[in-house]
């Protein structure tokens, strides 16, 4: 938690706006954004569990939300955020271990992250639909 108050005016190191935007930079931001979105996802999870623990009526209210088009859209967004954050986390674990740092490998990993998360989300909802989504 470093403070940023410098008593003397000094030249600043170049920041984001200096560099050409790359996909991995964008994906770093997206990892944080999906993580923050999942905080709201946790609220929905808590609502679902509390509703199930409370009773039939409370669960019916949740079901009403979850099966409405806006509810579905929100849950679809959360499922993509979850899968994207999960794959992104795997990517960071690979990098933490020191693998996949070459330019071509980096590009491959960020592309696999975004394409994989979209494909897996669609796959998940196809499975949900097949397994009797109401």
């Amino acid at each position: 938690m470093a403070e940023t108050q410098a008593p003397v005016q000094r030249p600043l190191s170049p920041h984001l706006q200096i560099y050409r935007l790359t996909l991995s930079m964008l994906m770093s931001g997206l990892h944080r954004i999906t993580g923050l979105a999942l905080c709201a996802g946790m609220v929905v999870l808590a609502w679902w569990l509390l509703a199930a623990a409370t009773g039939q009526n409370a669960y019916g209210t949740f079901e009403g939300f979850a099966t409405s088009w806006i509810g579905r859209l929100i849950l679809f967004g959360f499922s993509w955020s979850l899968l994207h954050h999960l794959l992104g986390g795997l990517r960071y674990l690979i990098w933490d271990l020191g693998y996949g740092m070459e330019p071509a490998e980096r590009e491959w990993l960020v592309r696999a992250n975004i394409i994989g998360s979209i494909l897996l989300t669609v796959l998940l909802w196809v499975i949900l639909w097949v397994s009797g989504m109401r």
Partner: protein
């Protein structure tokens, strides 16, 4: 006005000695959350379209309840650290920063406790 630079004022004071616990905990909870999330997705798929009594009965089974509690614990700890890092990175004002850091802790505890309590209540069937 002092001629000393910020660097001079901290030199010799030594490192903070701590600081890697959260880095490590964030990775541990991330790794734990991978299989738990996959289990959670399988659970959601299997619960889809089922009636309320059936959902309660499935959530009440010990194995599923334990997996769900582990999922909630891993993700809420991971969430608390993750949001804390975002606040520390982007909020510069001291009052705002500490307010948000505190609210973040309250939020993580509230969500974690609510989920765990609900799972236990369903499991014990009262």
């Amino acid at each position: 006005m002092t001629m000393r630079t910020p660097l001079r004022r901290v030199l010799g004071l030594g490192s903070a000695k701590t600081g890697t616990e959260e880095f490590w905990l964030q990775r541990m909870t991330a790794i734990a959350a991978i299989p738990l999330t996959l289990a959670g997705l399988v659970l959601v798929i299997s619960l889809t379209g089922r009636s309320y009594p059936a959902v309660r009965q499935i959530l009440a089974s010990p194995l599923i309840a334990v997996l769900m509690i582990l999922f909630v614990l891993a993700t809420t700890v991971h969430m608390k650290i993750g949001v804390q890092i975002v606040i520390e990175d982007y909020v510069y004002d001291k009052t705002q920063k500490f307010t948000l850091l505190m609210l973040n802790v309250f939020f993580a505890w509230a969500i974690g406790l609510a989920c765990v309590f609900a799972i236990l209540k369903i499991s014990f069937g009262v």
